[in-house]
Symmetry: D2
């Protein structure tokens, strides 16, 4: 985790904080992604140790499910913060944000 000098917090960072939405749960996301990294490292080790193919496939499915879990949580946060805020602010930004989110959802559904 990065250490942040609070006195140096730029406006941009403050904007990011407000805008990117997932920050309230940042530590939880980082912990989940640490586990996912561990799962990826475990896959490498399983192949290196020539584990049984089917067991490796099972781990790949588990890793994909863990990634879906993180993706859905990020998407919820994004829709619930960025997109709703943009919608409330009015103008075209809400629609642009939604178009962008829809494209991301389509990629997830197909990946």
């Amino acid at each position: 985790m990065t250490t942040v000098d609070p006195t140096a917090a730029s406006t941009e960072h403050a904007h990011d904080h407000a805008g990117h939405g997932y920050m309230s749960d940042k530590d939880r996301y980082l912990a989940r992604l640490k586990r996912i990294e561990g799962q990826a490292r475990g896959l490498h080790r399983m192949v290196d140790e020539e584990k049984y193919c089917i067991d490796i496939l099972t781990q790949i499915s588990a890793l994909k499910s863990a990634l879906d879990g993180v993706a859905m949580a990020l998407l919820d946060d994004h829709l619930g913060h960025c997109v709703l805020d943009a919608a409330r602010a009015g103008g075209d930004e809400g629609e642009e944000k939604l178009k962008e989110a829809s494209a991301a959802i389509a990629r997830l559904v197909r990946s």
Copy 2:
């Protein structure tokens, strides 16, 4: 990658080598999985640096596709070695191996 003392290669290891099928391409699998590990580490970094949510979702989709690619390659090797060999040897083993592979495929289709 592990270093292997060739004089110490046990029968069991030799069996694994023949039986687990993906060994011909082991280095290629290890290289792909190293990249996947790097992608997972990159996700962690993106959240830590509070990157834009949609960009993180795009990376998650890319990581899932990379995992599907490895899974399909492993499955091909497994079907083409383990399962065909078991089928040729006759007996029930071919069917058992297939049942096991089918369950793994179903998990992949749903993950």
Copy 3:
């Protein structure tokens, strides 16, 4: 397709029209779903005529992709109408609508 007497249009129907969002493209959706119905009927016929298994699997993949296409279009319309409207109206409804949409997305990602 239903025939609608415009003089009989109830307030409720008018509300549906505004609220359910996909109505602008209703004919297009109906045409796509007619094709999907035809694809489903074609699958039945392929099995009845004992077509080659792999060809049937290819048709199933095509049908699933067609369904994803309709789902993504519906979702876009829903987010762009219902959800944005609820968000603009203020109150908790925007968040409730989003929670509901997120659950639907999660089902799609996993199906």
Copy 4:
């Protein structure tokens, strides 16, 4: 379901019967696909009646899951009959059948 004049059963049909593997369960497959056809027709009706978008998405997910179920059953039958038989017969046919099955699996995983 088609009615078949048993006296007219051609050699080709007999070959199909032996080769395509899923015939033992043909009635069950036809019944499942009838239900799937009904689900597709139901989707069309839901849009025609302007049902709530989220409910339609839920039905699409259910239909995709039903299709995956049929696909996995067909694939099991195919691997367990065509592919194992080809493998047992020796020669290159086993490998060709497997390559074909792998491509079908990859399409399913991605659809």
